[in-house]
């Protein structure tokens, strides 16, 4: 499965990762190689096989919708790049 540089750029945008122009061809080559490799999965017929999401087939545990944690906002925001009045600062979003 051969990916073009354009396709790689589209995928990179979906993942919000900036890829340098000079690296794009390299990624296209590596990713195409990996896709070729994983295509081996098609050598086996999986018709009627249930997909396995959890190795023990267990469901996700739920808990009551009750507050159990302390508010530690200051502690958690102490490591933020930029905060003000309890809000995280980012470049302007709305013009």
């Amino acid at each position: 499965m051969s990916l073009t540089v354009d396709e790689v750029k589209k995928i990179a945008y979906l993942a919000r990762i900036r890829i340098d122009e000079n690296d794009a061809t390299g990624y296209a080559r590596d990713l195409s190689g990996i896709l070729d490799f994983v295509a081996q999965m098609n050598t086996v017929d999986t018709n009627g096989v249930e997909p396995m999401a959890h190795p023990l087939d267990l469901p996700q545990r739920l808990r009551p919708d009750e507050v159990t944690e302390e508010n530690q906002r200051e502690r958690f925001q102490a490591i933020a790049p930029a905060v003000e009045a309890g809000l995280y600062l980012v470049p302007q979003v709305i013009e």
Binding site: I17, D30, L31, G33, V38, P55, L56, I79, A80, P81
Partner: protein, 483 residues
């Protein structure tokens, strides 16, 4: 003291042959002396370790404390440690001081251990050689131009070289077992859900599992006893009782049936085959019965893994956006630029490769062909093991195809690197427990044998490993440069 096992050190502490403070200082000195060459540690917590040691000595002097009180340990840098940098081997978290302790860290702390520091690893646990770390490669203590394995390369190298008697690792596709094999130590990946993942930085949520790495099965039993157990905070933690892993270590292996997957032994190089043959002879003397078994779909484990793991990683690593913590790019011009450049600059090449593959595999139009297909293949592999365990109690095989390869040897070819996990990956897909223990040497480098058990059969694996270690001494060898 650095040549002794954790169990021996524990006995020494209880007999007051030395204090915890002396013990911790000894390892801090070793780290000071050798870490420059090995690069196993990313962050040291010497002061904290000595404080922990003093607290332990107070307990020990009153005849109190438990099995692990006063023993030094080191944590793979994937576990959040409160107020101590937790980098996950990445520039993305180089400036991240964790605000809390992971459950594994808290439990080992409660057990009375002293934290020496944080260990180097492949970035975000993605790698098999510790070469993708932002902090540079780790050297294999047996041969410094060789890799220690990965992603828990720092953990394996530190234990092997006697910089710490014990370490934690994590294993998503082999990242405890493969470096344990390459460095001549013992490592165990527990059953999925056995050890809490709360505070353990997530790579692939349906595969990740933390576990012990040390000089012996007995040591791993001691550590696992403290690490394992239900944790409410981890929604995938399984509420299964934790046995006393040490109590059954000496159980007889008479009549135990061990399966040898024909697919594992088919293309084995003769050196590796010879190592395993010798190991099997030792096991026969202990009363084990070997049987050939088949895991027909196992050849698809690496392809299936390289869809599932990257897919799950693309989701787990979406949180690194430069907004709330971690790396943020300089002077972002708008929000999109903030995301694109923080992530583009913060992540290394292998991590980006895997995020991209995962994003592609989960994207509209490709989900069925890739992710869903891989999950079906996963079920086939898990069922192969289920059938095998109806005939045998334990499975034995190689951990790796070869001993440690050279630094730089596989970095140019991602797939060649991926194939070094060919014997370990299926075990993560099936969620089963697996161990690697030293079984010999090839061209002067250690190699391991792998044991695989049924769900929650860690006690059995530790017993089977321990009995072998009672009649062999591969696990007691130390690399000459670090004796």
């Amino acid at each position: 003291m650095h040549t002794k096992t954790l169990a021996e050190l524990a006995a020494g502490l209880r007999a007051r042959e030395f204090s915890s403070r002396e013990l911790v200082q000894h390892f801090l000195n070793r780290i000071d002396q050798y870490n420059g060459t090995l690069n196993a540690f990313v962050t040291l917590s010497g002061e904290r370790a000595l404080d922990d040691a003093e607290a332990a000595d107070r307990l020990l002097s009153q005849g109190e404390g438990g099995a692990l009180t006063g023993l030094p340990v080191a944590q793979k840098d994937i576990f959040c440690t409160r107020d101590i940098r937790t980098s996950c081997g990445s520039r993305m978290l180089d400036n991240f001081t964790a605000p809390y302790d992971a459950t594994v860290v808290a439990r080992l702390r409660q057990a009375g251990t002293a934290l020496l520091g944080k260990l180097n690893m492949d970035e975000f646990a993605m790698g098999s050689s510790n070469e993708t770390s932002f902090y540079g490669e780790v050297k294999n203590p047996w041969k410094p131009d060789c890799v220690p394995g990965g992603s828990s390369g720092g953990s394996a190298a530190a234990v092997a070289a006697g910089l710490t008697p014990a370490a934690t690792g994590t294993d998503t596709g082999g990242s405890i077992r493969q470096p344990a094999a390459f460095c001549g130590i013992t490592g165990l990946k527990p059953t999925y859900g056995r050890v809490s993942r709360w505070g353990m930085i997530a790579f692939a949520s349906s595969l990740d599992q933390g576990g012990p790495m040390a000089r012996s099965a007995e040591d791993c039993a001691l550590l696992l006893g403290a690490m394992a157990g239900f944790d409410e905070r981890d929604s995938t933690s399984v509420d299964h009782p934790v046995p006393d892993y040490c109590a059954s270590l000496d159980d007889s292996l008479e009549g135990l049936k061990i399966g040898l997957p024909r697919e594992f032994f088919a293309d084995l190089e003769s050196d590796m085959a010879a190592v395993l043959d010798n190991a099997m002879d030792e096991y026969r003397k202990l009363g084990v019965e070997f049987r050939e078994i088949s895991l027909p779909n196992i050849g698809l484990s690496v392809p299936a893994y390289y869809v599932i793991a990257p897919s799950e990683c693309s989701s787990n690593l979406a949180r690194y956006d430069g907004v709330r913590y971690g790396y943020r790019c300089e002077e972002p011009k708008d929000l999109e630029d903030l995301y694109m450049r923080s992530r583009g600059e913060g992540f290394g090449a292998e991590v980006k490769r895997r995020i991209l593959i995962g994003t592609y595999a989960l994207s509209a139009g490709y989900y069925d062909a890739y992710y869903l297909k891989a999950q079906k293949v996963r079920r086939l592999i898990a069922e192969d093991f289920k059938r095998a365990f109806e005939e045998v109690d334990v499975i034995l095989g190689p951990t790796t195809p070869t001993p440690a390869f050279g630094i730089g040897e596989k970095t140019g070819d991602p797939i060649s690197m991926y194939l070094s996990d060919i014997y370990t990956i299926a075990i993560n897909l099936a969620g089963l427990p697996g161990m690697s223990l030293p079984a010999g040497f090839i061209t002067g480098k250690p190699v391991g044998l792998q044991l695989i058990g049924g769900y929650f059969e860690e006690a059995r694996l530790l017993n089977v490993a321990h009995r072998y270690q009672q009649v062999t001494d591969w696990h007691r060898q130390l690399p000459e440069a670090f004796v």
